[in-house]
Amino acid sequence: MKLYRDLTIRQKKIVWAWGFLAIPVLFYCVVRFYPTGNAILISFQDWNLLGARTWTGLDNYKKLFGDPVFWKVFKNTFVYLLLGTPVSLVISFVIAYHLDKIRFMHGFLRMLYFLPFMTSAVAMAWVWRWFYQPVPIGLFNNFLASIGIPQISFLNSTSNALPSILAPAVWAGLGFQIIIFMAGLRAIPKSYYEAARIDGVSTWTVLWEITLPLLKPTIVFIVVFSSIGFLRIFDHVYNMTTQNPGGPLNATKPLVLMIYQTAFSSFDMGYAAAQTVVLFLVLLAVSLLQLRIMRDR
């Protein structure tokens, strides 16, 4: 107690600041940094959760880079990212742009778009999974069959399955992105638009020269946010392909699902940890890249 009393006000402030900070710091050390460090450690070991851990050096990484399934999965992960992010960005911007202009039933429409975001991903994935089934139970294929068009294999196809799974995932994320875009649109000062109107500029020029440049922070935020989301996609894929997770022929398997399977169905913890480390590095690289772009602003 005496020790504290002798401190200057400035020092006391520091003690208090650290006092409060200590809780999240401790929390982070226990639930973030310690497991992260441990995962990196396990990635150099062989462990089936039961027996002793044995050191294997770089074996897990060697196995990983020589594993064709890993490269397939790596590619899938980036297809989810490179297809999902731009598509959801464009759709959500178009919707937000037009929604911002209308007043009639504005709140109701906004609610409709936001609703999927609040729905559980698992429930949504299962409903879409049934939509995609062949006749006699699939909604889409029943419709196609009724008007005499051949059935489409949505999920049981190496080429259609990934876009079929991505579609509900994009749809689910739209609501959030629309809300952020609308907030961004509202934040642009009206005076710019008034000045443009006085000068008689076309709508396209207004969009290209005023709206989009001023939305850049919003766009960067959404890109970062949805990229991380698509890189970590799991629930939609797992629930739409439970009997054959990530199938057919690994056509839909993202990295996170591969990690899950390696760890909790093959019980190969070391190999799963090595995959986790790779995912961590990918996420780190993508995030750093995007932070750089943000700083350039």
Binding site: N48, P134, L249, S265
Partner: protein, 419 residues
């Protein structure tokens, strides 16, 4: 003073606990773990009650977890010394537990290997190493052919006894719409369900092959027999007149439950969930034989084992308990309550059980059943799934696809057995 008060309280409660323990004289408490499944828990409660009545000095506490967490929880608890004295494990996990020294062999005086070899169905010998058994099942499971009685009657066919009859019956029960889309399958198909077992231990052996050699450490289905088995299987949905479709109604058992599948191969554990389906009239028959009458089946089971945690008097109690849950009486209770098949012919092959219209076909199947020793069951199943997918989705030939599957599975086995 306050601290002293607390200390006194702690001391008092500690002594009273000690007194309580002392008053029960030499009561031993052992812990039993299994996964949660209503009927299994009910059956085990009944067994524990009977056992405690016969052994008043032993108390058995049962703990159960949802199946999804079971394997990880057991794996985390036993090494930490927190786990059970007697534990229920899937037979396929046993190897890992033996290697990690988490379970101990059953004592040879109470469980002599020669007697067990003689008394139990032969596939139980997968639990034996040298002349010691590591674990024993109370009940076993096998495959059989479920059929929809109403659809059979409608198509005017009888439950098949051979593979040719199977195809004919399936063809008779398949329905299509105007565009040729299948709206009712004669037979379900899907390697993701039980078909990979039927293919491995059933069809491959029936075609004259042996799926694995060297105690399931060497893949041996990339042969003429394997190829014939694969072609038989894929012809059902890729042939000229398909009688089934993979992924029809999402999963095989759903199609059968919905009454849109004529026949369906599944395990004895499906009986319970089919019993409650309203409007579904079904029957069971043995897996179809070849024209020469060759039959083969797959069997799996859960075993009970004594963990290394059990020592001294707890060990003795655990041995007594193991002895009881492996007894004829326990097996009959398990059959009556859970519907799983007895592990001994002396119980299973009784007049009443073997001729039971529902259990009978499964029990008779046990006599010619084989148990695959899996290194990673879901991983090995996945390879079977992909073997068919390569043919169906990428147009690969059966011979090429089976070669890829065999090579991949051999690699998986080699890694597991550390070669």
């Amino acid at each position: 003073m306050k601290i002293n008060g607390l200390r006194a309280l702690a001391l008092a409660s500690a002594t009273s606990v000690a007194a309580l323990a002392g008053s029960a004289a030499n009561a031993v408490e052992i812990e039993y773990w299994q996964y949660f499944f209503d009927a299994r828990v009910a059956a085990m409660e009944q067994l524990i009650e009977n056992f405690q009545a016969a052994n008043p000095d032993i108390t058995v506490t049962m703990t159960h977890f949802p199946y999804a967490d079971y394997r990880t929880k057991v794996a985390a608890a036993i090494p930490a010394g927190e786990g059970p004295d007697v534990v229920q494990l899937f037979y396929g996990w046993l190897n890992d537990y033996v290697q990690a020294e988490l379970i101990q062999p059953l004592p040879a005086d109470v469980f002599p290997a020669a007697t067990i070899d003689e008394e139990f169905f032969p596939m139980v010998q997968a639990m034996k190493e040298g002349d010691q058994y590591w674990a024993l099942p109370t009940a076993v499971r096998s495959l059989a052919l479920f059929y929809n009685e109403r659809l059979m009657e409608e198509a005017g066919v009888e439950p098949p006894t051979t593979l040719d009859e199977l195809l004919a019956a399936a063809a008779a029960m398949t329905k299509r719409d105007g565009a040729g889309n299948i709206t009712q399958v004669g037979m379900t198909a899907g390697m993701t369900a039980q078909d990979h077992h039927w293919w491995r231990e059933g069809l491959v052996r029936q075609m004259g092959g042996e799926p694995y050699t060297d105690d399931y450490q060497t893949v041996n289905y990339n042969t003429d027999a394997g190829l014939k088995a694969l072609e038989f299987y894929t012809d059902m949905f890729m042939g000229e007149n398909p009688v089934t479709a993979v992924g029809f109604m999402d999963e095989p058992q759903a199609a059968f439950k919905a009454g849109l599948a004529g026949m369906h191969i599944d395990g004895s554990f499906r009986i319970g969930s089919l019993a409650d389906i309203r409007g579904l009239k079904w029957g069971v028959t043995e897996l179809p034989a070849t024209a020469d009458g060759v039959r083969s089946n797959y069997s799996s089971y859960w075993v009970n084992a004594i963990t290394t945690k059990a020592e001294g008097e707890k060990y003795d109690a655990a041995v007594k308990f193991m002895d009881y849950v492996s007894s004829d009486e326990a097996m009959q209770i398990w059959l009556d309550v859970v519907g799983e098949l007895p592990a001994k012919p002396s119980v299973g092959m009784t007049e009443e059980n073997a001729n039971d219209p529902v259990f009978g076909p499964f029990i008779r199947g046990l006599e010619y059943a084989h148990t695959t020793k899996f290194a990673d069951e879901s991983g090995q199943r996945q390879l079977m799934v992909e073997m068919v997918e390569r043919m169906q989705l990428e147009g690969m030939s059966a011979a090429d696809s089976i070669a890829i599957a065999a090579e991949a599975e051999q690699k998986l086995l080699d890694e597991y057995y550390g070669e």
